[in-house]
Symmetry: none
Subunit: 424 residues, 2 copies
């Protein structure tokens, strides 16, 4: 979309707590997301300490090279908050007390009735000359100033206040003021089963053919998420562009696409189970409860998850699932035969429709030449049949657990949406 978006913005977040890694910078993430949604390009996010010289430096550079600057933090009442002073300095204007805000602060302190001296909070009312107040609902207000022709929005560092002011005041102002008549639409598409490189190879030739639509890749181990962004002259055209691009993605990637936006593998599986009125029981070994944890993270999962048995010991496999001692002895706990008996056992003994089982070697020890670390068997069965698959996963213990659980959930998904999948 280069060439279409003309506004380049820059974000500056300020705070000793950010530069020391003590506190996560939620404002940068939030403001960047909102600007991106508006189609505003962000050139850079810069984080500096509550330090006059460094704030001035960042602000001076930002107003020189960008069309719009958003600053958060350093507007509080204490001495270490120096953002206002830096903004006044860079803007070449004096700091003056805003009488409307000063009255408001005094009124608030009286209301609170703790007999506090308002002088302690006077600094909150002292702003660069010419500042336009942004919704001074709290005691710390935001404001905007124009520096060298560039609008600079200064918002408090408290994330809730920043969010409020962004959504209630800044975004509407920008949407109106920056509009070139075009609109933006986004859609997040989630995939499992192919790595980023493979997906890119499949999609790159198509994406070249989507005018007005950009495609972003967001790996989220072990998944890959795709963001489609369409820019068009009106809502209908943007929606049509997104729909066409999503159609291409789904046609090329097929069942690798599992959902959109806030979907997760376990929520998609949960919806399939609920819609078909099926109940599930799970027997885990190497995943140690991770499949259960994911499934039960979905509100309402008690409707379709009957039980999850983490049968870590052989004895538990025999007692709780009815795996035969002979199978364990002959083929081992990590084997196709054991996985099948686990899936069938947990299903029959729970009297549910579907049984899912995982057994494998997560490492770091326990591997052999024949069954190295990462060897995992996943079995899935209903009343008709139980199928099993052997996997070889790479990585460390926790990665092998994550891969095993994701593949197990995905297989369950495909059981529902891909007829004959168990035979493949």
């Amino acid at each position: 979309m280069d060439g279409v978006c003309r506004v380049i913005a820059e974000i500056i977040t300020i705070g000793d707590e950010l530069i020391s890694g003590r506190v996560r910078d939620r404002n940068a993430e939030f403001v960047a997301g909102r600007l991106f949604g508006l189609g505003v390009r962000v050139r850079a996010i810069t984080t500096v300490a509550d330090d006059l010289a460094r704030i001035q430096d960042a602000l001076t550079r930002a107003v020189r090279r960008s069309d719009l600057v958003l600053v958060t933090g350093g507007l509080g009442p204490t001495e270490d908050d120096v953002t206002c002073a830096a903004a006044a300095e860079v803007g070449g204007v004096p700091l003056v007390r805003n009488e409307a805000i000063w009255l408001k602060i005094k009124g608030y302190l009286e209301l609170r009735g703790r007999g506090e001296s308002p002088e302690r909070y006077e600094k909150l009312a002292v702003l660069p000359q010419g500042a336009e107040i942004i919704d001074p609902r709290g005691n710390t207000c935001g404001f905007s100033i124009i520096v060298g022709g560039v609008p600079v929005f200064l918002l408090p560092g408290v994330p809730e206040q920043t969010r409020d002011l962004m959504d209630a005041q800044v975004i509407p102002f920008l949407s109106a003021g920056l509009a070139d008549g075009s609109v933006l639409r986004q859609r997040l598409i989630k995939t499992f089963g192919l790595d980023e490189t493979a997906i890119q190879e499949k999609l790159a030739p198509l994406a070249a053919d989507w005018p007005g639509v950009s495609l972003g890749y967001y790996p989220d181990f072990p998944e890959v998420h795709l963001m489609l962004t369409a820019q068009a002259k009106d809502e209908n055209e943007a929606a049509a562009l997104i729909t066409r691009a999503e159609g291409d993605v789904r046609r090329v990637l097929g069942k690798v696409v599992y959902g959109r936006e806030h979907d997760r593998l376990e929520s998609v599986v949960g919806e399939l189970l609920a819609a078909r009125g099926r109940k599930l029981a799970v027997a885990e070994s190497c995943t140690g409860g991770l499949i259960g944890h994911r499934l039960t993270g979905v509100p309402g999962s008690s409707e379709y998850v009957d039980r999850v048995l983490v049968t870590y010991s052989n004895q538990a496999k025999v007692e709780l699932l009815g795996v035969s001692g002979e199978t364990l002895e002959k083929h081992g706990a990590v084997s196709a035969e054991t996985a099948v008996e686990m899936a069938a056992g947990v299903r029959e003994r729970s009297a549910v429709d579907l049984g899912l089982a995982v057994t494998g070697i997560a490492g770091p020890d326990g591997g052999t030449d024949e069954k190295p670390v990462g060897t995992v068997f996943i079995a899935l069965g209903d009343a008709q049949r139980t199928a099993v698959r052997r996997h070889r996963f790479m990585g460390r213990r926790h990665q092998i657990k994550i891969l095993s659980a994701a593949h197990a959930l995905d297989w369950l998904r495909r059981y529902f949406i891909q007829p004959g999948f168990m035979d493949s």
Copy 2:
């Protein structure tokens, strides 16, 4: 430690997903925290897109004004990853293929056995001339180069890899290489059971009395971690300072301190179980497998975890744990009585030493006036007795699951280290 530390660092994080606010910048937070802990001042954190010109711009400025630069992201195999090219450009050196890494990549792909063409991944082996490789354990390695006399560390964008490489390679290098004759030592102390403000109130008066030692607070929900950093003229003095400060922390916080460095609640519990030769069985309900997942995340846990039963349905509680139908009817599935029968049942039926059980309401639905969302019962028993505790946790579904699992693990820990704890 002002005045002692002369090193000024700068952090650059790279990624379209960061500049668009799609993904939280965990690397900036982590790297800043580690540098702060070392006493290195961070001048600025700059985030830019995967864009050659903008990376070059940020890097050029950073090497001019800072003594040390840490860069994360943009080292992947796809075309949009251009950090290497930008670093080579700014450093004025060509990009060359590193044969050792190239061999490693080819070996890995062969091992994976999917018949993938290695050319697709060749880019991972192409680095600026003169790059020093940093621990290339994964396929995406980190490296360092010297630009204009300033060391620049480039780390992959995957947070896990960044953490590994920072802690295993970069921090030790910096600790050694930045010496002004003094040495730095750090110790991470992990706590569970008090919030940050409460800990700060207890420790602040003591910390004021530690010359040469700084104390950092790192909340890691639901835990609080403390980083002690000592700077002294030699190893012995630094070690003595750290030991004294840690002694103070432990004396004031007592059993709230559960470990150090890479310890986790589940690994500490695992060591206690293994050392005493005890075996554990767990019955989960609202935590849905999370306790099992955490316990089995520890290598060797199969030695002491016999089984974990996620008895989501009442029927499963009756069949698998022997909870009586009368108890369920009279007191409900979320009750002290049910929790006790779950813990006793899973222990007796598994013939192990200890039984741990959790039952509660994770929400968002299912709460009542008497038992609101967040009501959780945790029971723990051995052959002598079974004790139960009622909790009321605040938060959303996943937070309640996390709090429940952490409290259950911590109770198990205290069972071993705090005689008579079950009676309290």
